[in-house]
């Protein structure tokens, strides 16, 4: 395939909760939109429950990207058309008001009041069909979670999920095989295409193309089937929107020489550390029959804890347990009588994304002592809940800690400090790194995602979050993307109205600069070749 150059009004990097939404909104408003997605296109018909087939196709780094620190925290990111929305659990929660208030108060994020955001959230919820589960889709593991919470007298609520009559196949993490989960793959991306957007899968953004302080395009490479780089793709656009996630968005900016007066690009990484416990029951549970998470325990939300039942296939469950050989198999052989309980902690510390020589990003995150204590407390709480639901034994994610055989043993978790290196912690909520706010000296982007001191460059993903949000982030990302799209559309129209001929003139200038930088043929050179 030969190198190509594409002109458009807006180029969007990424097609997940941020990119897919921005692309659809801009396209519907009449902009000529190009989406670059590093991952491949996998339609619903390809999704199966064979993790060994799906994980390499749908996830970056085999779902095992690592934030370096003690402990190393494994995080999963989608890499496919639809991004992480294809592989997430589908929780669709509005940003808590206390979080939006904090953003407004501490970070001068304007326009996130309840009234203003209500319109945006409602639009997102309509387009992704956010709703509670139909009763027949709820499995026994979730009913046991609810039973345990009610026995403890704790607040438990039904989840709102982006689903249209979810069938309860519990395959969310490997692509919904019925299309019921309304990931951007089956919602916003088709909508963007219907309004004329062009989506290029297997196309990795390498650098942003700049001309002075203006970002004028994206230089990308086609990704061949064996992962090696193929033809060059230069996309020239009046607006460049990066929505590559909280690890790769700052990396792309840093690789491109974008510097923020705040010095905050790549900083303020937060993760919502997750820990899993495994409980065995006397009854058959078959947690794979029923939706991934039907309920959330919200009793301790104000203290920064969420709990849920999070069934995963045996292989994924085994990965995250600190046991080997017969000891591991003793647990897994009871797979159909297991409830996996997950605890999410709203973290109070922050890490950083750096770019390694060669351009790849690396995340660094040191779990604080305080958050490590909260992980232990969270594990203790969900263990109590599972015993209240009837669990016989609970395995905790701490190497060297024997399983708990009853609620009286939970206090054993506090008998001596559990070293951080003994903790098995993972996450799927990666946030921060290009935080938005009203002060260019403290923030990378303005409250609508426009990067300070980089004309034409906008962000639209979880990297914008000034703080962790304490709930699943998908709807917040989608809402911010919708909001940012609105501002991009206004900017686009006002630029056109003010200087009707400037775009073409500008393009002629930056086209030469971009072509020189890339070593790629300019549009005029291409034309003369033909």
């Amino acid at each position: 395939m030969r190198d190509v150059t594409i002109d458009c009004d807006a180029v969007v990097v990424g097609s997940g909760a941020g990119g897919g939404v921005v692309a659809a909104e801009l396209a519907e408003a009449g902009l000529d939109v190009v989406v670059l997605e590093e991952g491949s296109y996998h339609p619903t018909e390809e999704f199966t429950a064979i993790a060994g087939d799906m994980v390499p196709r749908l996830y970056r780094d085999h779902g095992a990207s690592m934030a370096m620190g003690t402990p190393v925290i494994v995080y999963g990111e989608g890499r496919c058309v639809g991004g992480s929305t294809v592989v997430n659990g589908g929780m669709t929660w509005r940003t808590p008001e206390r979080v939006l208030d904090r953003w407004a108060r501490e970070h001068a994020v304007d326009g996130v009041g309840a009234d203003e955001m209500d319109r945006i959230f409602a639009r997102v919820e309509a387009l992704v069909s956010a709703a509670h589960q139909d009763p027949e889709s709820i499995g026994r593991d979730n009913e046991l979670l609810r039973k345990g919470a009610e026995a403890m007298g704790w607040k438990v609520i039904p989840n709102v999920r982006n689903q249209l009559h979810c069938a309860g196949t519990n395959n969310c993490a490997f692509g919904c095989p019925t299309g019921a989960k309304r990931s951007t793959l089956v919602s916003y991306v088709p909508r963007a295409l219907a309004f004329g957007a062009r989506v290029y899968a297997d196309c990795r953004a390498e650098t942003l193309v700049t001309h002075g302080k203006r970002v004028v395009g994206v230089a990308a490479r086609v990704v061949r089937a064996n992962g090696t780089p193929g033809a060059r793709v230069l996309v020239r656009a009046g607006a460049v929107v990066v929505a590559a996630g909280s690890i790769h968005t700052p990396a792309l900016l840093l690789r491109s020489g974008i510097r923020s007066p705040s010095g905050q690009i790549g900083r303020n990484l937060t993760l919502h550390p997750n820990a899993k416990v495994v409980a065995t029951f006397d009854e058959d549970v078959e947690g794979w029959k029923g939706v991934h998470q039907a309920y959330q325990v919200r009793e301790f939300q104000e203290q920064g804890y969420l709990m849920a039942a999070v069934n995963v296939p045996p292989s994924v469950l085994a990965m995250g347990m600190p046991f080997i050989g017969r000891a591991l198999d003793e647990i897994l052989s009871q797979y159909n009588r297991i409830v996996s309980g997950g605890i999410l902690v709203e973290d109070t510390t922050a890490g950083r994304v750096r770019v390694l020589p060669g351009g790849a990003p690396m995340a660094f995150y040191q779990l604080s002592d305080w958050d490590a204590e909260r992980v232990v407390r969270g594990v203790a709480l969900i263990s109590e809940l599972l015993f209240a639901a009837g669990a016989r034994r609970v395995w905790v994610p701490f190497d060297g800690v024997a399983p708990l055989d009853g609620p009286d043993e939970v206090r054993r978790l506090f008998s001596r400090p559990i070293p951080k290196r003994a903790m098995e912690i993972m996450t799927t909520h990666v946030m921060g790194t290009c935080r938005m706010g009203g002060d260019r000296a403290r923030h990378v982007c303005d409250p609508w995602g426009k990067v300070y001191d980089a004309e034409g460059l906008w962000l639209a993903d979880a990297s914008l979050f000034p703080t962790p949000i304490g709930v699943n982030p998908m709807e917040t990302i989608m809402a911010l993307a919708t909001r940012n799209a609105e501002r991009i559309i206004e900017t686009h129209h006002s630029r056109k109205a003010a200087k009707p001929t400037s775009v073409g003139e500008g393009r002629a200038t930056w086209e030469r600069g971009a072509a020189e930088r890339l070593g790629a043929p300019s549009r005029s050179e291409e034309a003369s070749r033909q």
């Binding site: 199966t48 390499p56 780094d61 190393v72 027949e136 095989p177 347990m321 050989g325 797979y335």
Partner: protein, 162 residues
């Protein structure tokens, strides 16, 4: 996207097979687990893959210092002891390496069809049944939603079409 051009060297494969024997419940599946592990390695980033490959080589050869022979040629008891020595090592790099390898091997082992059958985990039939029920109960509503999804619904009154 799956990288197609990575294969274990014979020595690395021998190390992986010995690891499976040491830490997985069934040695008879060692070759199949090694194949799955190789597939997992293909989709890792090159830096991670290189680090794991270097770790496997070190793990293999450093056993010579303690036992006089490489890890892949140790008997089962010593192989397990060598793994546990790294698992409990105070050096974070050794601990994190075997922790990562353990996770990859555990994943590969429990992905084996024979193991899934033993655990009575057979989701395909459940998925097919649940999908059929969904369409029977909600088919018209689903089709209507799919149609409506592609209809214009302008973002804001202030936004005009170009």
């Amino acid at each position: 996207m799956i990288l197609a051009d990575f294969h274990f060297s014979p020595r690395m494969r021998a190390t992986v097979i010995q690891l499976v024997r040491a830490i997985c419940p069934e040695a008879s599946l060692a070759s199949a687990v090694a194949d799955q592990t190789e597939r997992s390695f293909r989709s890792l980033p090159s830096t991670t893959r290189a680090a794991l490959a270097a770790g496997l080589t070190t793990f293999e050869l450093a056993a010579v210092v303690r036992y006089g022979r490489p890890f892949s040629r140790l008997d089962a008891g010593r192989a397990r002891a060598w793994f546990e020595a790294w698992w409990h090592s105070p050096l974070p790099v050794l601990h994190e390496f075997v922790k990562g390898i353990r996770a990859i091997l555990a994943y590969a082992y429990y992905e084996q069809p024979a193991v899934k059958r033993r655990l009575e985990y057979h989701p395909d039939a459940w998925i097919a049944e649940a999908a059929r029920r969904r369409l029977a109960a909600y088919g018209p509503e689903i089709r209507r939603h799919e149609r409506d999804l592609l209809e214009p619904q302008a973002l804001s009154r202030n936004v005009r079409r170009a």
